[in-house]
Symmetry: C2
Subunit: 409 residues, 2 copies
């Protein structure tokens, strides 16, 4: 571990400058947190109409795959961070070698860019995960399906996952047979096979870690998925034993330490019907399962990420209300969110709405709503009505998107 | 009343554009609220290093006293609003006559620009206020001192107030004798005399009103002043009878209606030892006594102002915690706030800090802190320690600034 580049600019008596590569909604919401902390916030955007570029004064245009663009962007920044995990390793290494403070580091980010490497490292660390195998052919996958699972039963379905990225916005396919496998493999994308875990629900744990090694964990949340997309987050996760909650928080903090993550680490998990918890995915940035923290926690995930990467003391992750429910606004066909906002604000004056300024496309996350209070059922109802209405003009959920190859998880 | 220019852009299916004249910390904090609501936010700034200009993507440079600059700024905005009350009436009228939606209106803003007009209108409305008289000479003030007061006893001290604006950042002087009066009058600024109210404490009520006539009132707060500057706000005001609280909220809502204020109206009040409440000052914009609402209320005053001027449904003013204490960070001699931030964040991980990005000058408001919880005494202690430390590097209050003519209120 090499932390000699830790930001020390606070002693210099000026506002720190944080550069975030990427200008999506995560950068947009981080920008709002930077305002309060007196941080100069810069984003690297591809176009002026991107979510964060609309609102950030110090927007630099460039290509996150270009070392030249990244180096120009990083000049004058005290810390570089990311709203996505797509900056290639060579470019990350170039930034670090030039002496820039880059959090999370290239070494840590690798485990979000190469899922097979992530699975390998987690297995080394003894972290419970679904069983995986590299596969190159339908025969490999059929063989994988025939071998014994560590959690689920052997056999079909088998999950195929893109080692890195995906296509059509998807990187996970649940395949019921060899024909579905062949369809996915036809894209030529490197994938691996993963046992299908018959989970009861999905959980997520969000932690933050600073260069000094301090860490904080937010309450464990439940992430409700529909068609492979997170639609709702319940904080704290209902019906979770105190023992499991503490174990999951510890898992998150230990993973952040063991993978040397600086900033946020979001860990998505499966909970099986037997109460086992398995790691599904990792992200090292503000995460959809943490959006509820803007109003629902004493320190939002966006403020926390800034505090962590600046090596400032971390903020309290305590909840600001007994229960918080976040629901994503998933685009439907009506492009006009603001035309429907009046109804939502009038119907529920205590609801919090975040709109990302993104053009509506079917299934796209274009905003979210958060309801805070005590009664989970009524909070879920309020959040669902509002998010559905913003998307479709009806308080009922939108119709399911058309299926592609395989099924979404 | 003329509301035909009410913003109707939401029906057009695009993000509304709000232009705020002025780029101080009020515009900066409004900008952060606009991010969440998907509002395009534009500020008119004098220089790139102003508080809001540092963070707002759509910053336009110009002079708020120039009709040309204001008209260019307003082009493309759905609503024009203000972070100060200094735009002259002629320029406000020009904007309105050109068809721009201007909230609050020129007619309403006049009552924040001409305090004698405000006092006259409030007296017409039967609102309890200190007795005032226009004065032009020391003899006028001496005669005023000799006449009977409506609340306090007649005689000295007498308060002199600038009719509009002030100098050296001050517009209020408490004069103990004719010599002090002569010193204030020597500046040639139009002033009026006001009876000195021997108040027990200062209260404030913040309300919002939309063009449709809907209004909401926040809880009544206590504003603690030192040397004429607000140093601390306690929400809700402690030891206030429920009857007085409701009467003050009603007063705020009725004043907003009677003065036809659209957006926020902050009313500063004196509470006498007999429990009488008198109106001291008005502001028609986000106000220092409402900063606690960022984390302490379900809807912040900044979000509320935007919702009101856009004629959106107003948000719940309910408190997000039983008690909130806000303390201003008043600049001392050390220019480096961020160098002291680590201590404050480490000492109190649940404290919320807002820094405005302004150069430190003695007595200048450069940030604030907010503590949320239940026990007022401990919240005040936390807020005071943090704000003092950020200002001076010590948890004790800063020394008093040097006195000028008269005494501050």
């Amino acid at each position: 571990m090499n932390h000699q580049h830790t930001y020390e600019g606070a002693a210099a008596g000026r506002q720190p400058v944080v550069g975030m590569v990427g200008a999506g909604q995560l950068a947009r919401m981080t920008a709002a947190a930077a305002v309060g902390l007196g941080i100069r916030f810069r984003v690297l955007a591809a176009a002026a109409d991107e979510s964060a570029a609309q609102v950030v004064a110090d927007t630099v245009f460039g290509d996150y795959r270009s070392t030249d663009d990244l180096m120009a962007f990083a000049a004058g920044c005290d810390v570089i961070t990311f709203d996505h995990e797509h900056v290639p390793q060579a470019q990350l290494a170039a930034l670090e070698q030039a002496g820039h403070v880059v959090w999370p580091s290239a070494a840590a980010l690798r485990f979000t860019q190469d899922k097979l490497a992530m699975r390998g490292r987690l297995t080394e660390l003894g972290v419970p995960c679904p069983r995986v195998e590299p596969v190159e052919s339908v025969a490999d996958v059929v063989a994988f399906a025939g071998s014994a699972g560590s959690v689920g039963s052997a056999g079909w379905p088998v999950v195929l996952k893109a080692v890195s990225g995906g296509y059509d916005g998807r990187g996970v396919w649940v395949c019921d047979d060899a024909a579905a496998v062949a369809e996915v493999l036809a894209h030529g994308l490197p994938v691996f096979a993963e046992e299908y875990v018959p989970f009861e629900r999905e959980l997520a744990i969000l932690v933050a870690r600073s260069p000094s090694g301090h860490g904080v964990a937010y309450p464990v949340v439940e992430s409700v998925q529909r068609d492979g997309i997170c639609v709702e987050v319940l904080a704290p996760a209902p019906r979770l034993s105190a023992g499991t909650a503490v174990a999951v928080q510890r898992l998150g903090l230990e993973l952040a330490r063991d993978l040397d993550v600086i900033g946020l680490l979001a860990v998505e998990l499966f909970e099986t019907r037997h109460g086992e918890v398995l790691v599904n995915e990792l992200a090292m940035r503000p995460h959809n399962t943490g959006h509820w923290t803007i109003e629902g926690a004493r320190t939002s995930q966006f403020e926390q990420h800034l505090r962590a990467i600046l090596n400032w003391p971390l903020g309290s992750p305590a909840m600001a209300a007994p229960t918080a429910v976040m629901a994503n606004v998933l685009g439907a066909t009506d492009p006009d969110l603001h035309g429907k906002l009046n109804h939502v604000l009038a119907a529920d004056t205590a609801l919090k709405v975040q709109l990302y300024g993104k053009p509506v496309r079917p299934g796209r996350k274009v905003g979210h709503v958060t309801a805070l209070g005590t009664d989970l059922a009524s909070l879920r109802d309020r959040a669902a009505r509002a998010s559905n209405y913003l998307a479709t003009g009806s308080e009922e959920p939108a119709a399911e998107p058309a299926a592609g190859a395989g099924r979404p998880l």
